[in-house]
Amino acid sequence: MAKFEPVLLKRIAKDNSDHIDSYIADGGYLGLKKVLKDMAPAQVIDLVKASGLRGRGGAGFPTGLKWTFLPKDHPGPIYLCINADESEPCTFNNRVLMEKDPHQVLEGIILTSYAVGASKTFIYVRYEYGDAYRSMERAVQQAYDKGLLGKNIQGSSFSLEAVMHKGAAAYICGEETGLIESLEGKRAWPRIKPPFPAIEGAFRKPTIVNNIETVSCVKNIIDLGADWFKSIGIPPDPTNPRDAGSYGPKLYCVSGHVNRPGLVELPMGISVRELITEHGGGVWKNRKAKGVIPGGNSMGFMTEAELDTKLDFNGPGKVGCLGLGTGAVTVFDDQTSIVDVLYNICRFFAHESCGQCTPCREGTAWMFKIIDRIRKGHGRIEDLNILEEVGNQIGTMPGTTICGLADGAGWPVKNAIRKYRNEFESYIKNGDKKVRTLNLQMSHH
């Protein structure tokens, strides 16, 4: 097989890769100009549907299908919200795209807006991505200056305003209705669905929410075609009637105990083992992996024995993970305590639960208290059952919460206890309980 050439990351190492002149010199915005001249919005939607593109933010919903949920012949306005609140732990591909190739992202945003009939796009960037925000802000200004945003873009009847919007460091804003509430200036409390945003979204108007990597794929589907996109990746699993296939290139983040942490673009469906050995430089210090988090904290755990699992939308579920998530793989080596790893993850969700739904607010807090107790050496074997019970009771799947944060909080707990039960039991019975603590002996306190 021919060596895979990156498409989404093709330009990131170039000098001035973020400037519009360099982007245009590389053929940028030609696709947009062609579309504005030759294609109706419905044709763009059909093309994206035909490509099989599924959202890259975590849920994997077919992008073109999502667009068709907008009401037909709506008088407008219709809004496109760009979800650049990339906050799933261990995920950073949106940041690199925005910092290094903001015009690729922006061309994807303009194309998506054209397809869905949006007259305004809100680009919601998490506060922590200051450089990415400023890079996108410059790109938006350069695009206005060149007539690629604003009224009657390139002489067409299509007009689009782009507004940059900054978050304030809250994980829940990555949930699409939490993001909308936050954009509106309220607490980022996710909404009960339906109505879905396509029917009633930002400012009560029909709204599409798409991720940065997703719109970057849209840009390349326009340039290279639906057949190109579909020639990469994994077709639907015939044994899973709900699997729509996993096509196109994917940005995989590799972090944790590897020799070369980083970002790599590969065909969808690489195995975790190949990702770690071939692209992450292998597990560090000549150790073995004890396991990985395959797609952000929410997705659960894969053990060393499960590392041949493919990272497509259908793969991680086969070994009991919640899904592909963001495709961000974090490796922990065989010297790491699973108790410490789970403690870190439970602390994250207890901190980031938005507090709206009681089962999530209380459940994440109690899971953290229990794992903290275990870690400090005061655990009991029955605590493991309590943890599993709490994990099973919180989330949209049991039907106790409005959004999926709690499903993602419970999943790693359930996975860890099922897959590493012996280690938890041994730790509780005779673990060394060497807990790291902060050094808070300050002189003036």
Partner: protein
């Protein structure tokens, strides 16, 4: 007595036409104020509310949802130093880094140094896991931070 500087008021007003509803300017306004004043005072809340035709309670409600904004009783230092504690950084020495910074700055997480230069904070994943352990200096990433002394000395030179 008004607390918002005239240029901040003008900037807030200029953002209103960008959004279909004035309330959407809440976060941008809070950012503008905190970036300059290092906190958002109760008086500033009242004045933002007046500009956006909202109740001060609505501004306060949104502001307090995000642990991000500081009140006048606990303003930020000139440099807000966020140390990432999430998994990828934890696996590569985030605890060590935080401990060194606590010693070096002589403050606990959440506190500000006596000279008002640094506020030390723990952060959940800041999205720079390829450079773990990493920190944010206000909103700018610094990657592979293994030398706490050098980090602080470099920032001091720039401030």
């Amino acid at each position: 007595m008004s607390s918002l500087k005239p240029e901040i008021v003008e900037k807030i007003k200029s953002l209103i036409p960008l959004y279909p509803a004035k309330q959407a300017v809440t976060l941008p306004a809070l950012h503008l104020v905190q970036d300059q004043e290092r906190c958002v005072s109760q008086q500033a809340i009242v004045e933002i509310a007046a500009l956006l035709e909202l109740s001060p309670a609505e501004i306060h409600d949104t502001m307090s949802f995000y642990g991000f904004f500081k009140t006048e009783s606990n303003p930020l230092g000139k440099c807000r130093l966020w140390v990432c504690r999430s998994l990828a950084c934890d696996l590569r020495g985030a605890d060590d880094l935080l401990n060194k910074l606590i010693t070096k700055l002589d403050v606990a997480p959440g506190q500000t140094t006596k000279d008002g230069m640094f506020t030390l904070e723990e952060a959940e994943c800041i999205g720079a896991c390829e450079g773990a352990p990493c920190v944010l200096i206000n909103d700018v990433h610094s990657l592979n931070v293994f030398d706490a002394d050098r980090l602080i000395d470099d920032i001091r030179k720039k401030l």
